[in-house]
Amino acid sequence: MERSRNNEFDKLNLTEQELDRMLESEAGNQVRNFVRSMPEEPVSMAWRSELNQKLSAHIRTQERKRRFAWIVSPALGLGLAGALAFVFVFKGPSIVGSPPVTAVKESKLEEKLVASIEDNLRNYDMTGVGLSPDEVVSRRTTQTTYDIIEAGFDSL
């Protein structure tokens, strides 16, 4: 690009001073005056009217866009804030991860309760109503001792 520009300038074989001198010469100024005196072609009223309509349409569109943005942007902001609030307030703990711990604890408690009830039932089955397992054990032990003492000396 630069090369073509230089070539364009070099074609004339003139220095810039010579070029300036020729552009300011009488002949150069005469051509300039010719060009300057060319009549201007005015635009028509219809053209101006059409342009005014286009500009008005542009202004209306801009105004509509501005109003739309004015309404929509706070609504969007509120919606986003609401959604974030919902997530943090209602769904927040599940994100943190604490609920599984309580769930585990609850399940262990249940298991312990069930195990304890099952133990009790088993004990009742073994011992019958009215006696505690400890009583049964201590009674059995004392009974045996007694039996041995009772039967021991005579039978031997």
Binding site: F9, S25, V43, W47
Partner: protein, 208 residues
């Protein structure tokens, strides 16, 4: 605040006019439709004149000129006031003309440099402002100049119109077109030489 601005006052270098222009520019930045109307009044004919000579089709030229002002109105907030509003408008117009030329893909007629670089010859064209017959001659010469300009390449035409018709300085034209100042001068020289050659041929034909 009264802003009575016309084409001449806006384009002159007077300080008061400059202040008025700045006031109008500020109002236009705020999308003041009335202020923009004043700007339109001041420049619509000049911009149309430029575009009309850059684009052969009158209807297309009118459409492009409308597009110039619509874009100016849309983008006034981007106008940094480093150059004048006039230069800015002509820059938009020039860019649109270039875009249009690219779309049409019509290669511009290149001007032969052979035999046209001698620009020292002057013409004897008397001042015919108060003589009806001379006015007719002037109109004919103006038509001949228009024909000569229409046969120029876009590069030469742009520089000739912006400098000789619109009085833009070399540096602003260079910035607008995107070439060095020296190139602007050489193009102007070639454009004038082409015009002179064309007029010489026209006058010879008239005499014969």
């Amino acid at each position: 605040m009264e802003l009575c601005i016309g084409a001449t006052s806006l384009s002159s270098g007077n300080q008061t006019d400059h202040a008025k222009e700045l006031a109008i520019v500020e109002a236009c930045r705020r999308k003041d439709y009335e202020a923009f109307g004043k700007l339109l009044d001041a420049y619509q004919n000049r911009v149309f004149g430029f575009v009309r000579r850059m684009v052969p089709n009158a209807e297309e030229a009118a459409d492009i000129t409308q597009e110039v002002f619509i874009r100016a109105f849309q983008n006034f907030h981007r106008f940094d006031a480093r150059s004048s509003v006039r230069t800015w408008l002509f820059r938009i117009a020039y860019n649109l003309c270039v875009d249009r030329a690219r779309k049409v893909d019509r290669s511009p007629t290149e001007v032969s440099l052979q035999g046209t670089v001698e620009i020292d010859e002057t013409f004897d064209v008397p001042d015919g402002r108060w003589q009806p017959d001379q006015l007719a001659i002037d109109a004919e010469i103006a038509a001949a100049i228009d024909v000569a300009i229409s046969t120029m390449s876009e590069k030469l035409k742009t520089v000739l119109l912006l400098h000789d018709k619109e009085d833009l300085p070399y540096d602003e034209i260079a910035e607008l077109v995107g070439v060095p100042v020296g190139t602007v001068k050489s193009r102007l020289f070639l454009a004038r030489a082409h015009l002179q050659q064309h007029l010489r041929n026209y006058l010879r034909a008239e005499v014969s």
